[in-house]
Symmetry: C2
Subunit: 299 residues, 2 copies
């Protein structure tokens, strides 16, 4: 079967199924609840939420497939040159309970216009409340290996894109240890449309493997009030990024997307403390010292 938008959407739907199954296994306690929704102008989605699990305090794995006329707002804000669009993707954010398990985000998406223009976008990034450098290196190595299968230039380019994108400018800190981010990716000499799609599917399949490693590393580590406060403060920064900078969130909210699906990325609970300072030479200060752009995690 040729790779058309229907096939891509169907594979993304199956990817959502696969990931949800794997996450339920990794969590070991909670299961996903599903909400189906329709978009008035065309298409809809399946939003799946997991709560109060063995590992995941709150998480969402969303599939959507939306289409219809390109609105004036989309033309203006996204610079789209076409009459009809089609967009499909899978989007994930997981907030674990244990502060030693990182927050993780993944997204793969496909967009096309009736003019024939299309592109893929996506990425995976990790936000540890406490950064363990060997776990961070492992995470980046796994991403690099997958990217390298397609184009040796992808990982360095996408890694630096993630550093720039997942950045809280007003805090002068990255959201976490980054990962990869790409957008407006279409066929090149090295990687055709089928390859780019295959990269998205590979990343989707890599996602539960990656997260399982991170979960296994942290899930049994003991913690107390101090670590919970720090986790909640880091979640506050996550909320700041998503509401102030994240393009998908902002565009979704302002263009009349399904609010509950868009904001499933927010944690169950977050904290802010005025002018919070970490102790010198503490695990918290070490984490802060690593939240900057341009750090090379792979060797």
């Amino acid at each position: 079967m040729s790779l058309n938008k229907i096939e891509i959407a169907q594979q993304f739907r199956l990817l959502q199924d696969h990931i949800c199954g794997e996450l339920e296994r990794i969590d070991g306690k909670a299961t996903f609840r599903e909400d189906l929704w329709d978009r008035k102008e065309g298409g809809g989605g399946r939003t799946r939420i997991i709560r109060h699990g063995g590992v995941i305090e709150k998480g969402g794995v969303a599939f959507s497939e939306v289409y219809g006329p390109v609105s004036e707002m989309m033309k203006k804000q996204l610079g789209l040159d076409g009459n009809e669009f089609f967009a499909t993707g899978v989007s994930i954010v997981l907030h674990p309970g244990n502060p030693f398990v990182p927050i993780i985000h993944m997204n793969v998406r496909y967009f096309e216009l009736d003019s024939g223009v299309y592109w893929f976008g996506g990425g995976i990034d990790l936000t540890p409340h406490y950064i363990d450098e060997s776990q961070a290196a492992l995470f980046h190595k796994q991403l690099k290996q997958t990217c390298d299968k397609y184009d040796g230039s992808f990982y360095p380019k996408f890694k630096s894109w993630a550093d720039d994108y997942f950045f809280n400018q007003h805090r002068d800190e990255t959201r976490g240890i980054g990962g990869i981010f790409f957008d407006h990716l279409s066929a090149s000499e090295k990687a055709g449309k089928e390859d780019l799609f295959s990269l998205c599917i590979d990343l989707g399949k890599l996602f539960p493997l990656i997260y399982e490693e991170q979960v296994d590393f942290g899930k049994n580590k003991p913690f107390g009030e101090r670590e919970l406060l720090w986790r909640n403060l880091r979640r506050g920064r996550y909320v700041e990024f998503n509401l102030v900078y994240d393009r998908g969130t902002k565009f979704g909210l302002l263009s009349g997307g399904r609010t509950e699906s868009i904001l499933m990325s927010l944690p169950e609970m977050a904290a802010w403390e005025y002018d919070f300072h970490v102790e010198e030479n503490s695990p918290e200060s070490k984490t802060l010292s690593l939240l900057h752009k341009g750090k090379i995690w792979t060797t």
Copy 2:
């Protein structure tokens, strides 16, 4: 003494002192901590924070007086036509602990350009976690009485402005019961520059009186887990408004303002629950039903 920018800033500084003194009396337990800060390009501020009080869980009363060259960003984003600007104001957000005491926000500010153009802006709005209609009516009546001293058209105009401004579009709900909001206000036939300044000072002095009424009404009401969850969810909406829509917050963060002072408006802790539904005929559903624009609270 003529009403120039130095005098206005000085009166705003005294207003901050007055309000902090009154709030400490109303709170009855905690006192403000002060941070002085300088702005590299000119001016600075006094940020005062109160925490873990008898009434106020987290609150800030900030004074600032900043000036300097009009940057390219200010020209572009604010459409400012001048070379040098001067801005001073007092800004307040208080998050109480008891869910039956409302969140309150106040701001008064003065802006001028070397071209001679100036304006005042400001407002007070109330965000009850649980709306009591008689308390809401009292709040609006107090604002109307103060506005009416200056211009009978102010209250209806400013009230409707607040409805439009303090609105979470993606939730299709107002942030709270509104209040008044005004911006770019300069002298008219009815109200000269001195009058507008006097309105700002009057609102600043009204603020602790207004809040004391709301605090006294709610501070001894008993509450449990249910009310705390609801309070935290409403705080989540407050965070959404401030980070997604609030012009002062967005401009401040993107223009390199002092992040801790700007984000003092965020609560100590906030919550999000996917697709939360209130019980029918509950106090929570009654509150939700009142969070829409255009409700007339004064008769």
